[in-house]
């Protein structure tokens, strides 16, 4: 069964089918929130919240569009609401180090590992909207058309915003590494 068929079944009352959708998507959703919030507990809570909302608002699924677009629409709202409810910034910069694999592979040098940790810090320093865009594009491999649909803007606008987000991330990364790389 495709995601679309599964979700239509859930909408029709066969809510056990949500289990299959959970198995397919929860890890990706978790990492989406993980990159976005930098906080493990918040990310787990948000995954739970997304699937609960998928049940609650299952009747809004029309089945004529992309299931992932619909799911990310819910994901986005859940995250925005979470920020609103937890007015204190919950990004835990100290925790970002945990995102890196504990045991580096033989090819993975110390500097590579440390670079990635810095990059994660840089990512968390970005404004929310820019970080969201990068996470959707880079980590979720979403096409600009899909992103535009979720954000309610044109592909052209996504293109420009994406460039700005990348530029700011690169600048921040360079700044954090002490300008040891190329200057922008």
């Amino acid at each position: 069964m495709t995601d679309n068929e599964l979700m239509l079944a859930v909408r029709g009352g066969d809510i056990d089918k949500l289990g299959q959708l959970f198995e397919t998507h929860h890890k990706r959703l978790y990492n989406f929130f993980r990159q976005h919030t930098g906080n493990r507990q918040a990310s787990e809570d948000l995954v739970q919240e997304v699937f609960l909302r998928m049940l609650k608002y299952r009747h809004t699924y029309k089945g004529d569009g992309n299931f992932e677009s619909w799911m990310y629409g819910i994901t986005r709202n859940a995250r925005i609401d979470y920020y609103r409810e937890h007015s204190v910034e919950y990004v835990d910069l100290e925790e970002t180090g945990n995102l890196i694999r504990d045991t580096p592979g033989p090819e993975e040098s110390f500097s590579q590992k440390s670079d990635i940790a810095v990059l994660q810090r840089a990512l968390l320093k970005l404004p929310e909207d820019k970080r969201e865009l990068l996470v959707m594009s880079r980590f979720n491999n979403m096409r600009y058309k899909e992103i535009g649909k979720i954000l309610g803007c044109t592909v052209g606008a996504v293109k420009v915003r994406m460039y700005r987000a990348m530029k700011e991330l690169t600048d921040t990364f360079m700044e954090l590494t002490g300008g040891g790389h190329h200057e922008m």
């Binding site: 949500l18 890890k27 990159q35 787990e44 995954v47 945990n98 990635i116 190329h182």
Partner: protein, 271 residues
């Protein structure tokens, strides 16, 4: 291509999602433009590192929490009362039709507002609602008559006076109501009530039988005050049928002088 256009394409160029023609143009441009080349190189470094950020396994609790939630939801669904299910179904149906985008929501709100205003105007100028208002007024009038009739039979003179006062406001009183007033005029023990009735009946004096009743009442009234009031009224409406009664009053030796005097004046006025 300008630098700006090239730069906007860099992220897609790096991810390999750019179409081959534009990709070629970017490639050509950066081979010639140092600034853009540096940007691409720096961004490429970051872009490739982004890919190296490893995916993390969520904790085991995420899965168990989800399945607990699913079970709880199923139990909740099965235990939901039938009535609530109907409301939910209506809600669900409405939610499908209600647009998600605020701009459309706003549009619908404005459209409903305009529709409301138009209906409002139509109600004000249409004929249907007018009939309803007339009907309502008639019903109010009937109610008032009933209350008045009830008040006229009360033992308290104040209540009866109030009943008479209220009857002045009745626009088209029926015969039953006028009869009740005439009856009060002829039988009420309280002079003030009877005087009030004379005053109240003035506005209904264009009805022939009311005028006749006024004349007949004058024949039987004993109170000089009531007599004077009645004489004045009959003179005012120039009731020809009252002439004979007035003459009888004048000729009656028991009639008080002020009444006789008023009767004479009245006769002059009527003639």
């Amino acid at each position: 291509m300008k630098c700006e256009t090239i730069q906007a394409n860099i992220p897609e160029y790096l991810s390999g999602t750019l179409d081959s023609e534009t990709s070629q143009q970017v490639k050509m441009h950066i081979s010639e433009c140092t600034t853009c080349r540096q940007k691409v190189e720096a961004m490429n470094l970051v872009w490739s590192k982004l890919e190296q950020i490893p995916e993390e396994e969520p904790g085991f609790a995420v899965r168990s929490r989800f399945y607990h939630m699913l079970e709880a939801y199923k139990i909740g669904m099965n235990n939901a009362p039938a009535k609530k299910a109907v409301i939910e179904r209506v809600n669900e149906w409405l939610a499908v039709w209600w647009p998600r985008k605020p701009v459309f929501q706003f549009g619908i709100t404005v459209a409903v507002l305009i529709l409301g205003i138009l209906i409002g105007f139509r109600m004000n100028f249409g004929t249907g609602p007018k009939n309803e208002i007339t009907q309502l007024k008639d019903e109010m009038s009937e109610m008032r008559q009933l209350v008045t009739l009830s008040l006229l039979t009360r033992p308290s003179a104040i209540d009866r006076l109030q009943g008479v006062a209220m009857s002045k406001d009745i626009i088209n009183p029926d015969e039953k109501h006028l009869s009740a007033l005439i009856n009060t005029l002829n039988t009420d023990p309280n002079v003030n009530v009877r005087l009030a009735v004379v005053t109240a009946l003035e506005q209904f004096s264009d009805t022939l039988w009311v005028r006749n009743e006024l004349v007949q009442s004058l024949e039987h009234q004993q109170s000089p005050l009531v007599q004077i009031y009645l004489i004045d009224l009959l003179a005012k409406i120039r009731e020809q049928n009252a002439l004979e009664t007035l003459k009888t009053i004048i000729d009656n030796p028991e009639t008080m002088e002020p009444v006789k005097k008023r009767a004479r004046l009245g006769m002059e006025k009527i003639i």
